[in-house]
Amino acid sequence: MLTPLEWEALALSLRISGVALAAILLPGIAVAYLLARFDFPGKTLLDGILHLPLVLPPVVVGYLLLVSLGRQGPLGQWLNEHLGVSLPFTWEGAAVAGGVMAFPLLVRAVRLSLESVDRKLEEAARTLGASRWKTFLTVTLPLILPGILTGGVLAFARSLSEFGATITFASNIPGETRTLPLALYSLVQTPGQEAAAARLCVISVIVALIALVASEWLARRARRRLEGRHA
């Protein structure tokens, strides 16, 4: 049904987005918790920096990644010397670009659901002998699960559709960083490939739809478990 090239792009896209999501999930929840529950100096600044990828042109984000994580960049140099890792022009680099672009969406969704959690339930858990950590795992986390699911799917979809930061930071290498949007872009640039481009376009739409429907279904299921049970 799919040509090898299409398979390659699709599999690469899913892998890169999956890795990106896995990498940002825990930090995203932690940062959302920090922003939702604590006041500290520089909170507004941190909040602003986190949201930058939402408002900056993705190419700018890609450029900043290249500057900081590239061979000559301070972080990139350190990574290369100590861990032997080089991110630019690799699929791992594409995952970094996708993760950075998706991070604010995840944090926003988790933070919103954290803010709607009834803190009184957490207090009740504390008086029942649960430490802060146990309270988080047994009360807070289950209650924000719908938010985590929604945010996770949003973030996954965002990094699936990532283009600008990826092409700038990780380039457009077939089999390495040529994800669905990059493959589509290449086909559009090539004369006589209109039909192939249209096929990729349809594949993208189907993948996006599946993600959206799955997220809606998961979130509804999670909400139904909690619904009408606030005693």
């Binding site: 009834d118 009184k120 339930l121 207090e123 009740a124 858990a125 504390r126 008086t127 029942l128 002998g129 649960a130 430490s131 146990k134 309270t135 047994t138 009360v139 289950p142 209650l143 478990r225 909690l226 619904e227 009408g228 049970r229 606030h230 005693a231």
Partner: protein, 364 residues
Amino acid sequence: MLEAQVSQRLGDFTLDTSLAVPAEGVTALFGRSGSGKSSLIRLIAGLGVPDSGSIRLGDTWLVDTQRRRWVPPHRRQLGVVFQEARLFPHYSVRGNLRYGMPRAARADFDDLVELLGIGHLLSRTPGRLSGGEARRVAIGRALLSRPRMLLLDEPLTGLDGARKQELLQYIRRLARDTGVPILFVSHDTREIGALADRVALLEEGRVMASGPVDEMFARLDLGPRTGRFEASSLLEARIVAHDEALCLTRLALLGMPEGEMLSVARLEGRVGDAVRLRLRARDVGVAFMRTPPMPDVDCLPATLREIGDETHGPFVEVMLDVGGQALRARLTREAVSQMGLHTGQTLQARLRSVTISRHDVIVM
């Protein structure tokens, strides 16, 4: 024994008080809304930090600001039941009950479930419980965490009369059967009359007075604080007979001579059971000793102990001694002067049985 000596500024309100709660029985923390009851409970539970002061539970210091000690709430071993039941919506009733339950408390589970009458609810989700059921589950959950003391923050608020009565019965049974001391917050003198052994009266962030419940109810000087309309006395009595044909139960007040009885609507208890009786001051009258009896009025020999010092308004409260127990009566100022009442006088306390409702009599 819990001893607290705390102060905390909350906006333009200051809580600055000491409180002692004995290691047994039910102690009521009474005060109007805004008197600082809930804030005090939060400090004891560890959900707030006092600006200064100390709280000691037995020989454990929970808070001592001078020595910079503060035990976090989960290590305080205090069971708290809040006004709202605060059940976890994502657990079943069973899951809620087991939440804080240590291994050692497993053996208590079945007994407590039965005591609270929640056995049929175990697999339900909290959203499908009624208000009274949810609170019973919350009380069970708190007790199964094996607390050294149970703090109940207005657990009866928002329940209708019958549910309230039912939950009162459960709490009283708990206090008797589990031996866990209870600190119980309320602004309702009826609840306190039905439950408490001791009362601490909190006003504007300070405990003004505290003592055994009957003494506190008998103090005329606290009248304006405990609410004049509900001013009442608590009396200990026991059931001496049931009259099935007339649907009445005869009670004998403790300390009264043989044969002096009160009649109330038929009670559930057995002959010999102890009861606690709440009599509103406005339902008690007095008459001279020689006044002939009337069929629906119970007359008890009484001695006038104290006459309230009101000099305005139509009413005066007086304190009678019936067999060593204190009984308040509200009279018109006119009656007091026309009858020439004076302390030490021997009188009849007069009570109409119909004024004593079932809710006023608690079989202990």
